[in-house]
Structure formats: structure tokens, C-alpha cells
């Protein structure tokens, strides 16, 4: 985080923009799934918040959607390259994964490696009938054949740039910034 100060930051989405995008994401999911029972899984930490927001919007529209959380640290393929060991959060999947139609949530889709790890992690819990992916921002630069089924906002970036997401639930403010 120290490098934030040295970088120029540009607002990509304001708090209001985020609210609009999340609502659209929710209704796209509703449109595609109809009456089908869905199960949400958020990737720690901001994917969990995104999943919770979408679930809350759909509360009146659909039967209750169980929500699980996933920490994918142990499934990362780059642990050897990290100088430090990330703290691990508890993963909690409070429903039967076998046969479930799961929507996986993360805030930013970038190389696709996090999602690859998350899918590997989920499959260790059972055999879902389907896994879909919902993200708030797709910033391109994929290194794996992975795409989002639901996407709030797409933007072209370079690998050197950095997207910073701030959510009120865990940060003091809300907004999405591009750091160059």
C-alpha cells in the first residue's frame, strides 16, 4: 500500500457508479437464473462484500440465496514468489456443493489465476452442477482461458497499472481507482 502515494490515481467509478453497476449485475443474474436456486460464493475479501450486496438486492426477487466465502491463498500458484506469507481467512461453504449452481464473486478480474484457484478450491468441496463468475471490474490481461459471465465494468489496462477497490464495509470510503 505504500506505493499508492507515489502513484497517480484516477477515479474509475464513484460510489454511485458502483451502486448502479452492482444493481445491474444483480438483475442480470436474476434474468439468467429465473426461479432456479442459486448459491453465492465470495472470494475474500472484497468478493464477499460484492456477493453480499447482490444477495441483498435479490432478497425480494428470489428465494433466499445461501452465501459462502472462500480464501484461495492456499490454492495460489505463486506462493513461492511471494516475499511474505499472506494471513489466511476461514473459508466457509455452508451448503452442499454437489449439484449446486454456484455464482462466484470477485471484485477485479485480471490474470484469471485467482479464479482458477477458486474453482480448484470449490471443486474440492464437491461437484457443482455449474459455476459462473461475476465481477465488478474486468481489467483484461488474462493469462488463462477464463471469462466473466457477469461483469459490472470493463476497462483496458496495462499490467503495470493497479486497480484499487474501496468498499465502505471494510474501508473508510467507497470508490474504484486506477493507479498509474
Amino acid at each position: 500500500m505504500t506505493k499508492d502515494k507515489e502513484l497517480k490515481s484516477q477515479v474509475l467509478l464513484s460510489e454511485r457508479d458502483i451502486a448502479t453497476k452492482v444493481r445491474r449485475l444483480a438483475f442480470e443474474i436474476l434474468e439468467h437464473s429465473g426461479d432456479e436456486q442459486l448459491f453465492f460464493v465470495g472470494i475474500h475479501k472484497r468478493g464477499v462484500i460484492l456477493a453480499e450486496r447482490v444477495r441483498d438486492i435479490l432478497k425480494k426477487e428470489k428465494q433466499e440465496i445461501p452465501l459462502g466465502t472462500l480464501d484461495i491463498t492456499l490454492y495460489r500458484d505463486d506462493l513461492d514468489n511471494l516475499g511474505t506469507n499472506p494471513a489466511i481467512e476461514s473459508s466457509d461453504i455452508p451448503f452442499e456443493v454437489d449439484g449446486a449452481h454456484i455464482v462466484l464473486f470477485d471484485d477485479v478480474l485480471f490474470t484469471g489465476r485467482t479464479i482458477r484457484a477458486a474453482i480448484g478450491n470449490l471443486i474440492d468441496y464437491g461437484r457443482p452442477s455449474k459455476i459462473e463468475l461475476a465481477v465488478l471490474i474486468d481489467r483484461g490481461n488474462r493469462e488463462l482461458p477464463i471469462h466473466a459471465d457477469y461483469c459490472g465494468h470493463e476497462i483496458k489496462t496495462t499490467k503495470q497499472e493497479y486497480i484499487r477497490v474501496r468498499f465502505r464495509e471494510m474501508d473508510d470510503e467507497e470508490g474504484i481507482y486506477l493507479l498509474k
Binding site: Y75, D80, N81, L82, G83, N85, S91, D124
Partner: protein, 315 residues
């Protein structure tokens, strides 16, 4: 958290490192409830257990921990190996070095051997017990178990009973408990209490005296007949009468709701009577389960110098 290469004792751990390890063990324990109890974290890494002393529990615990992290595990069976043929410890380490193992789990009857190996090897070394010196993963699993019962462990009272002098468990666990703010008292045969420790521990002369201190938990040490060259107490029967949890003492333990820990394996009828094993506040099996989770956290945290460590990357 910055990784380290080796885990050799408790003394050198900072309180941040201790908190990191205790916190990290939690999610690992959650894994045991899943149908697949395994994560790919150490895939492709090799873990070798090098035990110069007999041990089934600790070795299996490390082995399961490593396997649940997807590492490959080899047991270097010392009794059956070249040690019998006269190979020195460092020659053995050279051999392991050539085999490119990433983690060495070592137990040795002489204090300091793990430190010697750690200096010599690129692999991460975990001390699984050396002489009377240290048994850090036992201490971590004990602390993790204590925290499950008492999330705020500070100022809780733990009474350690037994052969304090010959016990690396007592040394490591009491050090860690005190680092967590726990008050530690000790009770054991006179000849088996180290001299000059009254500032760190409260020393009791009898179980009655210790009960008056109102311990929250009693930690029973195993009587290690194999590690005791001189006779410090007349007989096992007498030990049980004076320092064991007898039926009479167990009634008091139950009445006051005191928790029980023991590092295993238990000598029934010596440290405790059978009924204690069925007591709902007996944490012995929980300690075994937590041992695996804690050792997974340790293996996750350590970074051998065998892996290519590049600059920090952001994902």
C-alpha cells in the same frame, strides 16, 4: 508475515509470529471437516522426517500435516539406516541436501542437533523435539488448544505436573504460555524441578497446595522412563499416589471444572486414572487434532532456501 527458514524453539519467536501461527492454524483445522482435506499449497515440495528417537504420534502428525498440504513425504528411518553404520549427522544432512528435500523435520535425543542441521542445510528445519531443549510445535498446538477453550488466555492459571526437568514439552509449552500472559505453576517430584526458576513459575509441593491456587487447567506431563537415567522417585505407584490424578483428585477436578491436557501418549494409572480420559473437559484428543492444523501452519509459514524466491509480485 515475513517467513523464516527454520523453527527451532519458542524463545526466538516474536509475539507477532506466534499470533500469526495461532491464527493460521484455525483455517487449517476447518479443512478437516471437508470431504477433501487437502490443499495444493506445497505441491511439488518434499518433506522428510528424520527421527533419531522413537515416535509414532509426532511423526504421523507431521506426515499428515505435510500430506494435507500436498507435499511428498519421506520417512528417513534412522534405526534402519546408515546411522547404524556410523554415518555422522552432518553426513546424513549432506545426503539429504543432495536429495533436494525442502523441509526436514528432526527429532534427536541430543539438545541442539536441529540447530546444527539448520545451519548446514538449505532446507527448512523444524525441531520436533531435541533432548531436554525444545519441542516448539507441541507448545504451539497446546497454545492453540488453550485459546480454543479460553479465547482470552491472559491471566489464566495453568498447573504443569510432572517431570519438569526432563521435559522439553514443559520447557517449550510453559515458555509459550507465559508469552501469552498465562500464569504457570509447577508441581513435581523435588528432584525433577529445575533450580532457580521460582521467579518464572510458582512451585507447589503438593497437589492440595496447587488446588488452592485455583488452576483453570492442569497440564499433565508424561513420565518418560526411557529418558530418565537416575531414579528420581521410588515407583510408578508412588508417583501416581503423589502426583497423579487419582480418583479422589479427579472428583475435585470435575467439581471445579478444571480442564486437562496431556501431550500423549498417556500412561494410564500413572499420570491419570481411566475416568479422566472420558471427562468432557479432557482435551487430549483435541490436542492431537490441533497438532496437525498447527504443524500445517508452521510448514506454510517456513520458506526453505531451496525454492527460487523472486521479487514480490502482486496479484
Amino acid at each position: 508475515m515475513e517467513p523464516r527458514k527454520d523453527l527451532l524453539d519458542i524463545e526466538s519467536l516474536s509475539s507477532e509470529e506466534i499470533e500469526f501461527l495461532l491464527k493460521t492454524a484455525g483455517p487449517f483445522k476447518d479443512l478437516f471437516e471437508k470431504s477433501v482435506k487437502k490443499v495444493p499449497t506445497l505441491r511439488g515440495k518434499s518433506v522428510l522426517t528424520l527421527f533419531y528417537e522413537p515416535s509414532t504420534r509426532t511423526r504421523s502428525s507431521f506426515e499428515i500435516a505435510a500430506k494435507r498440504l500436498s507435499a511428498d513425504v519421506t520417512n528417513f528411518s534412522v534405526a534402519a539406516s546408515s546411522v547404524v553404520k556410523g554415518e555422522s549427522v552432518l553426513d546424513t544432512v549432506d545426503t539429504l541436501q543432495a536429495m533436494k528435500v525442502d523441509y526436514i523435520i528432526v527429532r534427536h535425543p541430543a539438545s541442539g542437533i536441529p540447530n546444527l542441521i539448520a545451519k548446514h542445510a538449505n532446507a527448512s528445519v523444524v525441531n520436533a523435539g531435541d533432548g531436554f531443549h525444545a519441542h516448539p510445535t507441541q507448545a504451539l498446538l497446546d497454545a492453540f488448544t488453550l485459546r480454543e477453550v479460553f479465547p482470552k488466555s491472559a491471566r489464566k492459571r495453568v498447573l504443569i505436573v510432572g517431570d519438569i526437568l526432563h521435559s522439553r514439552v514443559a520447557r517449550s509449552t510453559s515458555t509459550l504460555f507465559r508469552k501469552l500472559g498465562v500464569e504457570v505453576g509447577v508441581l513435581g517430584p523435588g528432584g525433577l524441578i529445575p533450580d532457580g526458576k521460582p521467579k518464572e513459575f510458582k512451585v507447589f509441593r503438593s497437589f492440595d497446595e496447587a488446588f488452592e491456587w485455583k488452576p483453570d487447567l492442569i497440564y499433565l506431563l508424561r513420565i518418560q522412563l526411557e529418558r530418565q537415567k537416575a531414579q528420581f522417585f521410588p515407583s510408578l505407584h508412588e508417583y501416581h499416589q503423589v502426583y497423579g490424578v487419582t480418583n479422589e483428585r479427579f472428583a475435585r477436578v470435575e467439581k471445579e471444572g478444571i480442564w486437562i491436557m496431556h501431550p500423549g501418549p498417556v500412561n494410564r494409572g500413572v499420570e491419570l486414572v481411566d475416568n479422566v480420559m472420558r471427562y468432557e473437559r479432557c482435551l487430549i484428543n483435541q490436542q492431537v487434532e490441533n497438532g496437525i492444523a498447527t504443524r500445517m501452519a508452521v510448514l506454510y509459514w517456513l520458506k526453505p532456501q531451496t525454492s527460487s524466491r523472486e521479487a514480490e509480485v502482486e496479484v
